[in-house]
Symmetry: C2
Subunit: 105 residues, 2 copies
DNA sequence: TTGACATATTGACGTGTGTCGATATATAGT
DNA sequence: ACTATATATCGACACACGTCAATATGTCAA
């Protein structure tokens, strides 16, 4: 997992990956679940590949259970990266009332 | 200019483009200014190309002056896109105290 | 109108990346 | 041990994209 904003942006900069992220938002899903929810758009190796990318960017958490792996979105990290983006590239707005980054757990 | 989050993420997902964005943050710069500030990392056509990408994503504003064009970051749009990202992929944090999107002018 | 300057566009090239089929690895059940 | 299931990895391919040199477009000055 790497902390920089380019890695974050690259991870989010793909449609399939965003769809996967939507699947994993507020829910734990196995790889197979994600493949199903994507309804045949891509198949299992592709999903695994994207999950790896998301994991390396720190955007998902993993939990092993039997022979399956469950993934979920790391919402605090996403919030943090977005906050850093605003801080970097929209400082005139960052000052006001965005979430203070040190309050994101 | 297109409104979706993939376009936004793609625009930000490049190191050179982020450096250009840093140049344009809170300042109006001509293309030549940006080329200079990047200190020979890339040359003028590349900068123009990236500025076009940023413009199509709605991340910069342009102002013509004589034979030069001045660009600056569109901070409200960046704030808005980041807010949408949090809303989409970190709803558990979006509820709290992030900038209400309709207050971003 | 001609020449100089600022920026945009074009065409080409190499690299990065999303996708897949095939295969490997790991775990559970019999 | 053997089989079935779940996921990861590998190798290959096509396409997207960042970069550059060369050129085009546009604007000002003389």
């Amino acid at each position: 997992m790497d902390a920089n904003l380019i890695t974050f942006a690259k991870a989010v900069a793909d449609e399939t990956r965003q769809q996967i992220m939507t699947c994993l938002c507020c829910e734990w899903c196995s790889v197979g679940d994600v493949v199903d929810q994507l309804g045949g758009k891509v198949n299992q190796p592709t999903v695994s590949h994207h999950l790896k990318t998301l994991q390396e960017a720190g955007l998902v958490e993993v939990r092993q259970e039997g022979r399956q792996r469950f993934y979920t979105l790391n919402q605090s990290r996403i919030t943090m990266c977005c906050g850093m983006l605003v801080q970097q590239f929209a400082p005139e707005y960052a000052a006001s009332n965005i979430i203070p980054l040190d309050q994101v757990t």
